[in-house]
Amino acid sequence: MADIHEAPHDVTPLPTYFFVFIALAAGTLLTWYASTINLGWANTPIALFIATTKAVLVILFFMHVIHSTRLTWVVIIASFVWLGMLFVLTFADYLTRFWAID
């Protein structure tokens, strides 16, 4: 709050944008290819990992979060933490609903 009197001047260099784009496109092709091979239990985590990596690249570079304030980071991380709380605690019910009580 105290020190922002002018608009920020960080301009992302063009090559960064293009490299990220290539990575995103490659990731898309990779995830499609990986889905055609039977990797057993690993298929799902791999697909999620690739998707997450792509999302992180978009967030950090296209959305400029790599230059952004700490508060922006907190907002993003908090929303995923909250989503995580929803997922984990709801699944806790579903995954243990039919466990026997000793």
């Binding site: 508060l71 605690l89 709801t90 806790a92 019910d93 995954l95 039919f98």
Partner: protein, 551 residues
């Protein structure tokens, strides 16, 4: 650089010049306003109307419950009435109340800002509220809804013959009003504090509004998507939550309560913020344990998200899950208790004065505590199995929502009335109102603890004859409560014309809002304040005024 001292402003004349009320005239200047103060007043009028409507349904319920037989209303109508009472009071009164009325008005001023960060979004917020409210009103007129405010499936999606989609759509829209208010507050608090106003100099009302906004932002979207899924299920007849078609009704309950439990903290946190302000002002002391009170608001906001399954203990969930959530539910009481201890410690050796805001807050502290500890009863799995879906639960949440949140709202309304309107309300009538509310409230709801413990179920229009005496007491209490609520409606309106003109700081309180005129100018301050004092710095203020504090 100008810093405002209390010595300068303590005895300023009431505003004779332009303020936010008289700077502009005409309906459009209100309906298209971007001034947070006018928007706060727009909300004040709208939610008061909804409060009266919700109260009407309550009165009808209590009248029905005077006799054991279901003789006043059919069971179907009674179902509609308790549903509408809940929906209106929660979504259209309690959740907006303090944030949208007092938060909108006071928060920017307490921050030394000219307005919120996004004034047009603030106005949009009100219009979304009005669209939601009109939708709700329309539903009431065309026949109502009977699912309970909890909309449990598959009754709400497959079997109810009432206007479920209309109602849930109204709630969906009003949810966005809530989200946008929260968004505005968060950004304003982070980015628009006056020079010198560090986080630890903020009034505790601001901390409370910040925590409330966090909950509004992080919880309400889940309600939104849940209601969308409910509407889809009902509209095209699929089975997202219907067991006959492969769905799980408990999934609805999980998602619904993920919002609706934190929602109760949206309702109570602002009232706690008001409590801190009023206790400080009417004991002329710093709040004891300021940092603890500030962080406890954040703790409540966080922990409040980890307990929702305690609404589902008997629904058929995993026993292990139930045990985890019972355990977690005990924790959420701790930060609330910390606040109560700190307010009490502030009262000790304070220079207490008994004006109406203080009366409401003293009532708040006691009644909230009772409601809170009965929550602990309910967190205990073994006990919950017996009292869930009985009047014990009804009493518990009314102690917190009415004895707590509503009294907090009335306290704030009276405390800031002079600032908002430039007029004092009539003190003795107001005290009478507070007394009637307190007595009426306890007479209404204490018997309900006993009724629930004895086994009277909720949401039934008829009951076993042995419960009649307690029910009659409860209805009698409700009548007194109704009078207690009507009084402010009358005398507050009266005060607008005939109330004594208030000066800048009629309470002699510490806070940026008490350094500007009553009513404030359109841009809140004639000059941007620079803050050099700590929150609730009564010692410094009193010294500046030449008094010594009675210790």
């Amino acid at each position: 650089m100008t810093s405002v001292t209390y010595h300068d402003v303590q005895f300023l004349e009431p505003a004779k010049t332009r303020n936010y009320l008289n700077v502009d005239y005409g309906a459009l200047s209100w309906l298209l306003t971007k001034d947070h103060k006018r928007i706060g007043i727009l909300y004040m009028v709208s939610i008061s109307a909804m409060f009266i409507l919700g109260g009407f349904f309550a009165m009808m319920m209590r009248l029905e419950l005077l006799t054991p037989e279901g003789d006043l209303l059919t069971s179907g109508t009674y179902n509609k009435f308790f549903t509408l009472h809940g929906i209106i009071m929660i979504f259209f009164f309690l959740i907006p109340s303090i944030p949208a009325v007092l938060g909108n008005f006071i928060l920017p001023i307490q921050l030394g800002a000219k307005d919120l960060a996004f004034p047009r979004i603030n106005l949009l917020s009100w219009y979304l509220y009005m669209i939601g409210a009109f939708t709700g009103l329309l539903v009431v007129i065309i026949g109502g809804v009977d699912t309970g405010w909890t909309f449990y499936t598959p009754f709400s999606t497959q079997y109810s013959n009432t206007h479920v989609i209309g109602t849930t759509f109204g709630a969906f829209i009003v949810g966005f009003s809530s989200i946008l208010t929260g968004l505005n507050f968060i950004v304003t608090i982070h980015r628009m504090r006056a020079p010198g106003l560090t986080w630890y100099r903020l009034p505790l009302f601001v901390w409370a509004m910040y925590a409330t906004s966090l909950v509004q932002l992080l919880a309400t979207p889940i309600l939104a998507i849940t209601l969308v899924m409910l509407m889809i299920e009902r509209f095209i007849h699929v089975g997202i939550f219907d067991p006959a078609l492969g769905g799980d009704p408990l999934l609805f309950q999980h998602m619904f309560w993920f919002y609706s439990h934190p929602a109760v903290y949206i309702m109570i946190l602002p009232a706690m913020g008001v409590a801190s302000e009023v206790v400080a002002a009417f004991t002329r002391k710093k709040i004891f344990g300021y940092t603890f009170v500030a962080y406890s608001s954040l703790a409540i906001a966080f922990l409040g998200f980890l307990v929702w399954v305690h609404h589902m203990f008997v629904a058929g969930i995993s026993v292990y899950s139930a045990m985890i959530f019972s355990f977690l539910s005990y924790f959420v009481a701790v930060p609330s208790a910390i606040k109560v201890f700190n307010w009490t410690a502030t009262l000790y050796k304070g220079s207490v004065s008994w004006q109406t805001p203080m009366l409401y807050i003293l009532g708040f502290i006691g009644l909230f505590t009772m409601g809170g500890v009965t929550g602990l009863f309910l967190a205990a799995l073994g006990l919950d199995v017996h009292v869930t879906d009985t009047y014990f639960v009804v009493a518990h949440f009314h102690y917190i929502m009415v004895g707590g949140a509503v009294m907090g709202y009335f306290a704030g309304l009276h405390y800031w009335w002079p600032k908002i309107t430039g007029r004092m309300y009539p003190e003795w009538w107001a005290r009478l109102g507070a007394l009637l509310v307190f007595v009426g409230f306890n007479l209404t709801f204490f018997p309900q603890f006993i009724l629930g413990y004895l086994g009277m179920p909720r949401r039934y229009h008829a009951y076993a004859p042995e419960f009649q005496v307690l029910n009659v007491m409860s209805t009698a209490g409700a009548s007194i409560l109704a009078v207690g609520y009507m009084l402010p409606l009358v005398y507050l309106l009266w005060s607008l014309r005939f109330g004594r003109k208030a000066g800048t700081n009629p309470w002699g309180a510490v806070g940026l809002e008490w350094t500007t005129s009553s009513p404030p100018p359109k841009d809140n301050f004639h000059e941007t304040p620079v803050v050099t004092w700590e929150a609730y710095d009564y010692p410094a203020m009193l010294k500046a005024m030449g008094e010594t504090q009675n210790v």
